[in-house]
C-alpha cells in the first residue's frame, strides 16, 4: 500500500492542467474581488465605528450612540457566524442577488459579508492607534471632517490598513476553498470534486500547493507595501 499511496499523490498525468489553470484563476479572481469589496466596506464600517465613538454633545451624541450600537452589533454578529454556516444561511439571498447558488460569483456575497466585519474592527483599531493629538492638531489648523478623514485618519493609518487587508485577504483565500465544497468554483471546488470525489490525490496535492503559493505571494506583497509606506521607524 505504502508505495501506491505515495505514488497516487504524484501522478501528474492524471491532472487536467486546463482545469487547473481555470480553477487557479477563479480562486485568484474571487479572492481579489472580495478583498477589494471587503477593504472598501470594512473601511466605511470601521470609520463609522470610530467616528461614532468620538466625544460629542447634544443631539448628535444620541445619534452617535445609536449608530455605534447598531453597527457594533451587526459586526459582532456576523463576525461570530462560522463561514460555512453563513454561506448556507445566505443561499436565498445569494440566489436573489446573483441568480445562482453555484459558481465563483455566487460565493462573493458570503465572502464579503463574513470578512468585512472582521476587517472593520481592524480598521477601527488602526484609527484608534493614531495619536489623538495629531487629529487635534489638524482641527486646530481648521481642517474639516473630510480633510481629517482623508489626510489624517486614512493616510496615517495606511500601513496598518494594508497589513489588515493582507490578513483579511489570506483569510478570504481559505474561505474560497471552503466555499468550493458547496459549489463555488476555484481550487477548493476542484480539490473537492476531482481530488476527493474522483479520488485523485494528485489534484488535491496540486490544489494545496497552489493555494500555499497564492497565500505566500499575497503575504509578501502585503508585507512589503506596508513596510514601504510605514515611515514611523526606519
Amino acid at each position: 500500500m505504502g508505495t501506491n499511496t505515495w505514488a497516487s499523490y504524484f501522478n501528474f498525468s492524471a491532472v487536467n492542467w486546463v482545469d487547473f489553470w481555470a480553477n487557479t484563476w477563479e480562486t485568484i479572481s474571487m479572492t481579489l474581488i472580495s478583498t477589494i469589496a471587503v477593504a472598501i466596506l470594512g473601511i466605511l464600517l470601521g470609520l463609522i465605528l470610530f467616528e461614532t465613538k468620538q466625544k460629542t454633545t447634544g443631539k448628535i451624541m444620541i445619534w452617535s450612540k445609536v449608530i455605534n450600537w447598531v453597527v457594533s452589533a451587526l459586526v459582532n454578529i456576523f463576525r461570530s457566524i462560522p463561514f460555512i454556516i453563513l454561506i448556507v444561511l445566505l443561499l436565498p439571498f445569494t440566489k436573489a442577488l446573483v441568480g445562482s447558488i453555484i459558481g465563483p460569483v455566487a460565493a462573493l456575497p458570503a465572502l464579503i459579508i463574513s470578512a468585512a466585519p472582521f476587517y472593520a474592527r481592524m480598521v477601527e483599531l488602526a484609527f484608534r492607534e493614531i495619536d489623538y493629538g495629531v487629529i487635534e492638531a489638524a482641527e486646530a489648523m481648521g481642517a474639516n471632517k473630510i480633510q481629517i478623514i482623508w489626510k489624517v485618519l486614512l493616510r496615517e493609518s495606511l500601513p496598518a490598513l494594508i497589513s489588515g487587508v493582507t490578513v483579511t485577504g489570506i483569510t478570504i483565500i481559505g474561505y474560497t476553498a471552503m466555499a468550493g465544497t458547496i459549489g463555488a468554483g476555484g481550487l477548493g471546488n476542484w480539490a473537492f470534486i476531482e481530488g476527493y470525489g474522483a479520488n485523485n490525490n494528485t489534484v488535491t496535492l496540486v490544489a494545496t500547493v497552489t493555494i500555499i503559493i497564492i497565500v505566500a505571494i499575497f503575504q509578501l506583497i502585503g508585507d512589503q507595501s506596508a513596510k514601504l509606506i510605514d515611515k514611523r521607524n526606519n
Binding site: 493629538g133 492638531a137 482641527e139 486646530a140 489648523m141 481648521g142 474639516n144 489624517v152
Partner: protein, 345 residues
C-alpha cells in the same frame, strides 16, 4: 489683542462637575509674549484651548482681534482657526509626511495651490533652520528638530497669534533654549503675539514680557515679568519665582542656618536688585559709609529677564549694633529690596 472676559469652563464628568477655569479676565496686547504658569490641573490648557475653539467656555467671552471665538461654529470657526497657530508638547506631526509635507499640511487645508504651498514651505524651513532636512520624515528628526517643524507648520498660514502648550517640556535644557530663541526671533520678526504655557520660570524669564499665574482655575497674579519677579504677591507665585531666582534656595537656607549658628550676633539679609542697580557698587558704597561693618557673602545670583536683569544676594553683616542699625536704612535708601532673615543680639 486677546481678551478673556469673565471666562468660566466647567466639565461634566461621571464624578460630577469640574470647574477648570472660573471667572477669568485677562488680556494680551499685540506683539506681546505672555507666559501662563501654574501647577498641574490649574486650568492652563483649558484656557488657551479656548483661543482656537478647541474648548468652548461655559460662560464668558473670548475675543481674538475682534473675533468672538466662543460663538463661532462650522466654517467660520475653521477659517478663524487658520489665523491661530498652535504648537504642542508632543509636536503632533504626521508620521507619514516629510518635513516640507508637514509644513504644507495647513496650507492644503486652507486650499492653497501646490506652487504656493511649496514656496511657503521652503521659506519656513529656512526660517526655522531646517534647510537640508526638507525630505526627512519625523522619525528621522530629533525632538528639537520636530518642534521646529511644529513651529514652521504653525506659522504656515501667517497667523495673528501663536499658542504653545508646554512646547518645550519634552526637550532638554539646551534644545529648550534654542527653541525659545527661535520663538523670540519670530516674535520680533513678525510681531507675532505669543501665548505660552510652561512649568519652568526659566522659560518665562527668557522670552516673556508678561506672566499670568493660575491656581485652581483662577488667575491669581499677572503683570510684567520683572514686576512679578521682583514682588511676587501670592504664595504660588513666590514658589515659582523662587524656583528660578534662587535655584539653590534650599542650599542657601542651610547656609544661612549654619551662619546664624556660627555668628549668632550677625545680621543676615537678603537683597534683591533690579535693572541698573545690578550695575551699581551699592555694597562697597555701604562699606565706605559705615566702615565698622564687616560682611560675608552667603549666596548670590543674577538672571537676565526680558525686562532687565534681576539679582539676589544673601549677605551677613557683623559689627557694632549701632552700625548695623544704619545699614538697613542705607540699603533701603538705595532702593534695594532688603529682607532681614536674622538679627542676632
Amino acid at each position: 489683542m486677546i481678551e478673556f472676559k469673565h471666562v468660566s469652563k466647567e466639565f461634566v464628568t461621571n464624578n460630577g462637575k469640574v470647574s477648570a477655569v472660573s471667572d477669568l479676565n485677562l488680556s494680551v496686547e499685540d506683539g506681546n509674549i505672555l507666559g501662563i504658569v501654574g501647577y498641574s490641573g490649574a486650568g492652563k490648557s483649558t484656557l488657551i484651548r479656548m483661543l482656537n475653539g478647541l474648548e468652548t467656555p461655559t460662560s464668558g467671552e473670548v475675543d481674538v482681534n475682534g473675533a468672538k471665538i466662543a460663538s463661532l461654529t462650522g466654517k467660520v470657526l475653521r477659517k478663524q482657526r487658520q489665523k491661530i497657530g498652535m504648537i504642542f508638547q508632543h509636536f503632533n506631526l504626521l508620521w507619514s509626511r516629510t518635513v516640507v509635507e508637514n509644513i504644507m499640511f495647513p496650507l492644503e487645508i486652507a486650499g492653497l495651490g501646490k506652487a504656493e504651498r511649496l514656496a511657503k514651505a521652503e521659506e519656513l524651513t529656512t526660517l526655522v533652520g531646517l534647510k537640508g532636512k526638507e525630505n526627512a520624515y519625523p522619525s528621522e528628526l530629533s525632538g528639537g528638530q520636530k518642534q521646529r517643524v511644529g513651529i514652521a507648520r504653525a506659522l504656515a498660514n501667517d497667523p495673528e497669534i501663536l499658542i504653545c502648550d508646554e512646547a518645550t517640556s519634552a526637550l532638554d535644557p539646551q534644545t529648550t533654549d534654542e527653541i525659545l530663541d527661535l520663538l523670540l526671533q519670530i516674535n520680533h520678526k513678525l510681531n507675532l503675539t505669543i501665548v505660552l504655557i510652561t512649568h519652568e520660570m526659566h522659560v518665562v524669564r527668557k522670552i516673556c514680557d508678561h506672566v499670568a499665574v493660575m491656581e485652581n482655575g483662577k488667575l491669581v497674579e499677572d503683570g510684567l515679568v520683572l514686576d512679578v519677579f521682583k514682588r511676587p504677591q501670592q504664595d504660588v507665585t513666590k514658589r515659582f519665582v523662587n524656583q528660578e531666582v534662587t535655584p539653590a534656595m534650599h542650599d542657601t537656607e542651610i547656609a544661612v542656618h549654619e551662619l546664624i549658628e556660627a555668628y549668632p550676633q550677625g545680621l543676615i539679609v537678603q537683597l534683591t536688585f533690579h535693572s541698573t542697580q545690578t550695575q551699581m557698587p551699592i555694597i562697597s558704597e555701604m562699606l565706605r559709609q559705615i566702615p565698622e561693618i564687616d560682611f560675608n557673602i552667603v549666596e548670590g545670583s543674577i538672571h537676565q529677564t526680558q525686562g532687565g536683569p534681576i539679582g539676589t544676594l544673601y549677605i551677613q553683616l557683623t559689627g557694632p549694633k549701632e552700625s548695623l542699625d544704619q545699614a538697613i536704612p542705607f540699603l533701603q535708601k538705595m532702593k534695594v529690596e532688603t529682607e532681614v532673615l536674622h538679627y542676632g543680639d
